[in-house]
Amino acid sequence: MSLPVPPLLTYTVRRVVQAIPIIILIMVGSFLLIKLAPGDTVDALVGDMGGADPAFVARLRAEYGLDESVMVQLWRYMLKLAQFDFGWSYVYEQPVITVLMSRLGNTMLLMVSSLMVAFTFGVTLGAIAAKRAYSWTDNMISTLGLVFYAMPSFFLSLLLILIFSVKLGWLPVGGIRTIGAFKTGWADVADVARHLVMPTAALSLIYLAFYMRLMRTSVLEVMDLDFVRTARAKGAGGARLMFHHVMRNALLPVVTLLGLQFSTVLGGSVIIETIFSLPGIGQLAYTSVVKRDLNTLMGIIAISSIIVVIVNVVTDLVYAWLDPRIELK
């Protein structure tokens, strides 16, 4: 490992190249889904116009390329997607990519804050539970974890709203900023943070439970390993043993799960963003379904798949960094 950078680079490139067939599969799949949907763009347009004569409909079909064979249409669709052209949203009267980009930031903010909360608290509580395995603290934490795991996020959201907005009046019910306040600088940051407290809590709790349980098992397993005994024999104890020797190794499965679950968390944001009326990708997915805006829906599938692929590559890199035994080949 005299040259640490090149293997990392080739590894990253290789992982990205491996992801390409998956992205292509998803694109082909979403194209087929659109084709399976009853009615096409022209049907929707004609429906909006209140009907048209068959010759005009045929001309429209030719204009939109819908008279071509399915393979030709697929090829055109793929070419457009490769240029990040997801078509036109008839609901927002904008290109889909513009709609997506204006909302991506909010969703990413929610994702990052939720995963950070879930990871930090999950790992800490899991490690504490393992350290005091089978004690009262452990039982308490483990039971809490089971309840968190079984709690539907939308129910938890309503409970939080009921307690912190309706009864106590501490936190705003929804939105990303106070409407009409036009705050700037740190006041704006604080405002957004206040709006994100409940959505973050609601989205992170179930994953917190996952990481906690996994961390507990993982720490218990690592604490039994030989190198921990060796470290203890050499005099390492307390915090150093826990953080330097045990935690670092016990984190590995949690990091894997974090990467694997990113797409689930993204899916969960649909419910949370809709409840807290956060203008993000998830809420967009919900409104697109209700308004049958298929172009936008396919754009969401494409963009979230790309994000998930990127996150997975990053996870693998973090994993390799945490565990030097893994060779970047």
Partner: protein
């Protein structure tokens, strides 16, 4: 992992005679876990509610059954109160249990069936077949499952059959990976070689020889799939995208949202019902895991 159990199961002839003894052993191990027993009790209660829905709360649960927004424990006719349309909450809970269970069981069967077939074929044949099937699996894992579920429901409609199928379609990847891993480790075992040398067909080897040995972890995982299926259906119904013709807990919570300030019980009661049902599956899953993998460390 499960060597003592699987060796018993794979002896094809005395298997039938050993079955009661084996299930008795499993039950004893399951019983040792008190949390699992609690899960079983909760599960039995949900099943009883679903079975007795028409006896305890006869008639259409979506009909007007009393004065709107009655609080719980006020009227004898509506012990758990009514919602803003005067629908009896207890009737909704009982009939909702039926829908939740049906969706949980059927969607789980669909996802496990798809997962077993894809995982078995990929793990058994390996090579290019495995490569292609794993790409498909990864593609499904990459798309956020709830977004795919919404898309499928948006395109094919939200009848209860479509919802069940769609939930099955979005949740087969984890069982598939599990079955594949088991098959990859089992396909090189001697009993598989022996079967192959006897001229047993690939299909028979996959389903009769390897699958019974690969199933225990999948059965445990089925409880997780069941819980997530129920959560997915209730989330769909909460968003108002479920089948409107059936009483569903998620839908009750969603409708209760608009009267949250004044009548919290409209959403809290069905919320607790979902919570306890999902909890029962997780607790039972753990008990099953302990029973099937007694050597695994807790």
């Amino acid at each position: 992992m499960t060597i003592p159990d699987t060796s018993v199961a794979s002896d094809s002839l005395p298997d039938i005679n050993l079955m009661p003894a084996r299930s008795l052993v499993l039950w004893r191990r399951f019983r040792r876990n008190r949390a699992a027993l609690l899960g079983l009790v909760l599960f039995v209660i949900v099943v009883l509610m679903a079975a007795l829905a028409d006896v305890v709360t006869p008639g259409d649960p979506l009909r007007n059954a009393g004065p709107p927004l009655t609080a719980p424990l006020v009227l004898a006719a509506n012990p758990l109160g009514t919602d803003q349309l005067g629908r009896d909450i207890m009737a909704g809970i009982f009939h909702g249990a039926r829908i939740s269970l049906i969706i949980g069981v059927v969607a789980t069967l669909i996802s496990i069936a798809i997962g077993v077939v894809i995982g078995a074929v990929a793990g058994y044949f390996g090579g290019k077949v495995d490569g292609a099937l794993m790409r498909v699996t990864e593609a499904f894992q990459t798309i956020p499952s709830f977004v795919l579920l919404l898309t499928l429901v948006a395109i094919f409609g939200s009848s209860i059959q479509n919802i069940v199928i769609a939930i099955g379609i979005v949740s087969w990847t984890a069982p598939a990976r599990m079955v594949r891993a088991e098959f990859m480790s089992l396909r090189k075992r001697e009993f598989v070689d022996a079967a192959r040398n006897l001229g047993v067909s690939d299909v028979a080897i996959i389903f009769r020889e390897i699958l019974p040995n690969a199933l225990p972890p999948v059965i445990v995982f089925a409880s997780v799939v069941m819980a997530t299926s129920i959560l997915m259906e209730s989330a769909l119904a909460f968003l108002g995208l479920g089948d409107p013709n059936y009483a569903s807990w998620g839908n009750m919570i969603g409708q209760g949202r608009s009267v949250l300030r004044t009548a919290w019980f409209c959403s809290v009661i069905p919320g607790v019902a979902i919570l306890l049902t999902v909890l029962s599956f997780s607790l039972m899953g753990e008990g099953l895991n302990d029973a099937l993998n007694p050597r695994q460390k807790k």
